[in-house]
Subunit: 117 residues, 2 copies
Amino acid sequence: MSVELELVPKQKRPAGERCCEPVVYPDVDRAQATRMAEVAKALGDPIRLQLVDVLRKHAGKVCVCELVPLFDISQPTLSHHLGKLRAARIVGSERRGLWAYYYVDPEPLEELSGWLS
Amino acid sequence: MSVELELVPKQKRPAGERCCEPVVYPDVDRAQATRMAEVAKALGDPIRLQLVDVLRKHAGKVCVCELVPLFDISQPTLSHHLGKLRAARIVGSERRGLWAYYYVDPEPLEELSGWLS
DNA sequence: GTTCCAGTTCGACACTCATCGATATACAGA
DNA sequence: TCTGTATATCGATGAGTGTCGAACTGGAAC
């Protein structure tokens, strides 16, 4: 465990001695990190993650009235979650008559996915 | 309020008329969604996302003392963020003497990445 | 016009979060 | 032992979140 530490005899942190290899700075800058974190944060709720899952698997655009019965939450709460996803630009929406249709914009998800893999 | 329910039982939405195609259920079940959402939530902060970025790029284990100067936050706050990442099982830690070393566990990130792509 | 209806927004609530300074813990060196 | 250092935890605070019912908005149909 700490054998290698005893090989380092003298001062608290001897000159040229480090507790670890020097660390490079993050490859993602603050702006990228902020953008991707915003997307990740929007996915950081089970209902929103499942919402995105449904919308992604569904080729076309999905009506809110079809989403409501899938989840055990009130309709205003679902609307709130859709608003969060829209604020993160993960989904877009369109109104046709009485109904509102949602669809996934793949780009933000792709940026996050690209960083992860 | 609910008077109209008896009046018009049938045709508020005319037979055969739909607002959209029928929606399949989410492919990810609630347990998967909860697990992945926990990971996504932990990544939903720019500092934590950059922390993971540094740790992933760094082959070995990284000492906390190298992480602190990279970010403009206090040491307790950094420790708090590392604790969040550890709670989400994105990173693990090990103590050697005075120092604590953190490393990435790739599995949770891979699960999220696999779902995203 | 009036009356529904799908969806959004509002107001409130309890809860969680990011942040800090202060304090505690754990260890190394003397 | 005592001193100093690296990291974690505590306590507080202000900001944000998920949730609901109520109210509002804009179309559609009568």
